[in-house]
């Protein structure tokens, strides 16, 4: 199940949906709205999606995970709009025959989603002000070093740089021709 929703994510129901007699393990990840990032206090978060493309990318990472692990059932659900502190912004739930597979598939799905699915987060700070979070984007309004370093350490990118070089070295592709 893949979805983008505008209201509360009912994680209990979703986890029950992936539970199966064919699986010996269910692994879940909930992304929740955190109050403090370093010393900065968040009032609320807001997410915006490029909905059609986001759903397509979510389906692609789900398919890729299913090629890699023997997934029985999966759920990938992201919320958009305002998310209050402590509420769930994203859910991954995956069932597999064995626990190692479920842990790995769950980790893969959330990491891939965070990197490739066009959904953006806006912080509304308790001290006032709003800020779209775009790692790597020059921010003329500045941000605290702790926030910046927290962002930079979220993902190691050595292997990703290699992938980028590899992809760019591949032959040119035309998008929009035959499958549009």
């Amino acid at each position: 199940m893949i979805d983008i929703v505008e209201s509360t994510i009912d994680h209990f129901t979703l986890v029950e949906r992936v539970r199966s007699r064919a699986a010996g393990a269910v692994c879940t990840f909930l992304g929740t709205a955190r109050e403090f990032t370093g010393e900065r206090r968040t009032k609320s978060l807001e997410y915006e999606a490029y909905r059609a493309m986001a759903l397509k990318k979510m389906a692609e990472i789900d398919a890729e995970a299913r090629r890699r692990w023997p997934i029985v059932e999966s759920a990938i659900v992201h919320r958009v709009g305002v998310v209050e502190l402590g509420e769930i912004s994203v859910l991954i739930a995956v069932s597999c025959p064995h626990r190692a597979q479920a842990f790995e598939a769950c980790r893969y799905l959330i990491d891939a989603l965070k990197e490739c699915v066009p959904i953006w987060k806006k912080e509304t700070w308790a001290e006032g002000g709003e800020e779209w979070i775009h790692p790597g984007l020059d921010d003329p309004r500045g941000e605290t070093e702790s926030v910046r370093s927290a962002k930079l350490t979220t993902v190691g990118s050595n292997s990703l740089s290699a992938l980028r070089r590899e992809t760019l070295a591949a032959k040119p592709e035309t998008i929009g021709g035959e499958d549009s």
């Binding site: 953006w120 990703l160 992809t167």
Partner: protein, 99 residues
């Protein structure tokens, strides 16, 4: 041709619009689209260096052709990722961080 470019997040905030129209000579590539966008707004031009372009809901590198009616979007970095990660092969492959 005139193409419409969808904007999101900080790009939408900066330009105060969800869509901008760009005139391009045919045939046009993503590189030409970026040049055209950069020439209309300096701040957007700086931002483009960290953004990707999506053509018909796929990440597209500079060589990809834009045709009349193509759905174009400007994709700023997503909240959990880095630009290296959001790469644009038409068939998505993350041969990456595992685990």
């Amino acid at each position: 041709m005139i193409v419409e470019v969808r904007l999101f997040a900080e790009a939408k905030r900066k330009l105060g619009a969800a869509v901008v129209s760009v005139r391009l000579n045919e045939p046009a590539t993503v590189a030409e689209l970026k040049r055209s966008l950069a020439s209309r707004d300096q701040e957007l031009g700086r931002m483009l260096e960290s953004c990707l372009i999506a053509v018909n809901e796929e990440y597209a590198d500079d060589r990809v052709l834009i045709k009349p009616g193509s759905e174009i979007a400007l994709i700023p970095p997503v909240s959990g990722g880095s630009i290296e990660a959001r790469v644009h092969s038409r068939r998505f492959r993350i041969e990456r961080f595992l685990i």
